[in-house]
């Protein structure tokens, strides 16, 4: 199958066209028009991207197989867990958020539940104290603040 490159090439071609078209609509900079405006370089780039995208669609490489759907969903969940960690770091605090996300990741990578919790808790506590006390970079305490 050579579908990956064709689809990706298609997407990149769309990006090239949209990007190049947007560039032509930049407002004329204060002080009048010069030989090279803010749009010159982007237009060059969109041409290069366009050409290589077309090449990719015409002569695609062999596909690297995608993971099965189940694995893709799992990867999606992992990505969401990292986003959740990013969101939680301030309201909930670094230590609980980090402990949760590290335990979860290491469990998903195949560690037993008990061991992943140990990894998560120790690493987050150690990193918190290392950063706050040794390196003096404040990380939010969140719920643990009182």
């Amino acid at each position: 199958m050579r579908i990956n490159d064709r689809v990706f090439g298609m997407l990149m071609l769309i990006l090239a066209v949209v990007y190049g078209w947007e560039a032509t609509k930049f407002p004329i900079p204060f002080g009048g028009h010069e030989s090279v405006g803010p749009e010159t370089f982007p237009i060059m780039l969109s041409i290069i991207l366009g050409i290589s995208a077309i090449y990719l669609m015409v002569r695609p490489d062999e596909d690297e197989p995608w993971a099965p759907v189940g694995m893709l969903i799992e990867l999606g969940v992992v990505v969401l867990s990292m986003l959740a960690f990013a969101w939680a770091i301030e309201p909930i605090g670094f230590m609980p958020a980090a402990a949760l996300v590290v335990s979860f990741l290491s469990w998903r990578m195949g560690a037993s539940i008990a061991r992943s919790v140990i990894t998560g808790v120790t690493s987050s506590v150690v990193i918190f104290f290392l950063f706050n006390n040794v390196l003096e970079l404040a990380l939010p305490l969140g719920l643990l603040e009182f």
């Binding site: 204060f30 803010p38 370089f41 991207l49 995608w66």
Partner: protein, 506 residues
């Protein structure tokens, strides 16, 4: 003689207790990073940049730290090549060929020691080469005008795929994507907003450090998950070291040849460390093979290791003197320089002479530290190597996120990091190389600036880009760099594969 006195001043900087401390820390971290499979040097340096940045280290200290990490990673790569038959990074591939058979024969400790000595030689000789060549190249580069610089940037992208690159159009595409990301934000010379869609966070553009960490570290985590590689691999047991001075003398010529070849390969655009170690190995095989290569000949360990480390130091020459990195890791080091507000290039040697020479001197110091560290303490690194990735990768991801978070204390940066991680995963799936993307983000602003300068000076005449002998020369090399791999690439790759296969069969 001028160079000597500058180098001595450099040693005055590099031998302060603070610098030595950073060199030691960097060497240890680097060896670890290089040794752990899946955490290549570019990745490791990328994770450490935001940390060095938010700790507020001085430019000299952070550069010493990160170049030591860089050198250490090259040392570390050999450990997993020898013990696991899995290269810690791509250049260490050739070390597998004779290193692993040596380890199987119960000579793991000797293989590790010989490769450490060869690495030391490789870096040492190449650093001397750097001392000699860099000032000359920097002086020469002062002649460059904006149109030459524009051609030079084009050359950097064209040759980035390297001789071994698979699909040149994918390299080109990746470069274009990176450059496009770099155009987001307020245009420096006109103040026009480009592709910001009035989002305040995008006015200053996309932070390349966040992009680098996302593209490398987060996508690596996703790949580990997908491959169920969490359990790690079985390694060969390590024996007691028995190494006589005679054994060392036997590998010295091999190390020397490897170092010189590696250095040349590192300096040349598009060659890089992988090719450096490959050429060193093949030459050594041709010169001194008596049927022992591929079955655990110590010289087959020494040559590629020296070549690989020589190339790593050689790659710093174009990065420091021209501001054009030739490899992924030097691109990440360039990111460090730019974020410290130091613009590399010929002026660096004049304006920041103490910094440059301090770093070069620190490379000598770091190299010695690495040698001392790697022979007696290799057992400790081997122990750490046996920690399965299922515990290690989540912690590394956490450290990477903390680094990004502490730069500006915003969760938004972390969202961006994860987003780039997903992008990196997709790019790697469709075989789009990541390094040109990063290089595009780094060089984009400078490249556009040189184009503008050139065209403003010539009043809009595009012919100015090709009007000097120098720029025509650069363009020629660029075009050759883009076209040659299409012809030669398959041959070289087949050769590399064949030499690997013959080892597997025997």
């Amino acid at each position: 003689m001028d160079t000597m006195s500058l180098l001595m001043q450099g040693f005055a900087v590099a031998l302060t207790p603070e610098s030595i401390m950073f060199a030691v820390i960097g060497a240890i971290l680097g060896t670890l990073i290089g040794a752990l499979p899946g955490l290549g040097p570019a990745n490791g340096v990328a994770i450490l940049i935001p940390l060095a940045f938010s700790l507020g280290l001085s430019p000299t200290s952070s550069l010493i730290l990160l170049t030591s990490v860089y050198a250490g990673a090259m040392y570390g790569g050999r450990i997993s090549s020898i013990l696991l038959n899995i290269p810690g990074d791509e250049p260490a591939m050739m070390t597998c060929l004779d290193g692993y058979p040596m380890a199987v024969k119960g000579k793991a400790a000797e293989a590790l020691a010989i490769s450490a000595i060869a690495s030391f030689f490789g870096s040492f000789i190449a650093t001397i080469g750097l001392v000699i060549l860099a000032p000359i190249l920097a002086k020469f580069a002062l002649k460059f005008g904006p149109s030459e610089y524009f051609a030079l940037f084009a050359l950097a992208f064209a040759t980035l795929g390297g001789i071994t690159g698979k699909n040149q159009f994918k390299t080109l595409m990746a470069a274009a994507i990176g450059l496009m990301i770099a155009t987001v934000g307020i245009d420096i010379s006109t103040g026009v907003q480009r592709f910001t869609y009035n989002t305040l966070e995008l006015f200053e553009g996309v932070d390349f450090i966040i992009a680098i960490v996302g593209l490398f570290a987060i996508s690596e985590l996703l790949f580990f998950l997908e491959r169920h590689a969490g359990d790690g691999l079985k390694q060969v047991a390590i024996n007691k070291l028995k190494l006589s001075p005679k054994d060392i003398i036997k590998v010295l010529p091999a190390s020397f040849r490897g170092a010189v070849l590696g250095f040349v390969a590192g300096v040349l655009p598009g060659a890089g460390a992988s090719l450096g170690s490959f050429i060193s190995y093949t030459l050594e095989k041709r010169v001194s093979d008596k049927g022992e290569f591929g079955k655990g000949d110590p010289r087959g360990v020494a040559a590629p290791e020296a070549g690989n480390n020589g190339a790593a130091s050689g790659a710093l020459v174009p990065m420091l003197t021209l501001g054009v990195p030739g490899s992924g890791t030097t691109a990440v080091l360039l990111a460090m320089l730019i974020s410290l507000n130091i613009s590399p290039g010929p002026m660096l040697f004049q304006q920041n002479a103490d910094l440059v020479w301090g770093v070069i001197a620190a490379m000598f110091v770091g190299n010695l530290v690495l040698l001392l560290l790697n022979i007696p303490m290799v057992g400790i690194f081997v122990k750490l190597l046996s920690i399965p990735p299922k515990y290690l990768m989540p912690v590394v991801t956490l450290i990477a996120s903390v680094g990004i978070y502490s730069v500006s204390h915003s969760a938004l940066d972390l969202y961006f990091m994860v987003g780039f991680g997903v992008l990196g995963y997709i790019f790697r799936k469709v075989d789009i190389p990541l390094v040109p993307i990063i290089l595009g983000m780094l060089l984009g602003p400078e490249m556009e600036k040189s184009l503008r300068h050139a065209l403003v000076l010539s009043d809009g005449d595009w012919g100015v880009l090709f009007n000097s002998g120098l720029s025509i020369g650069l363009w020629t090399v660029a075009i050759l760099g883009l076209v040659l791999p299409i012809i030669i690439g398959p041959i070289v790759r087949a050769k590399m594969k064949r030499s690997k296969d013959t080892v597997k069969d025997s």
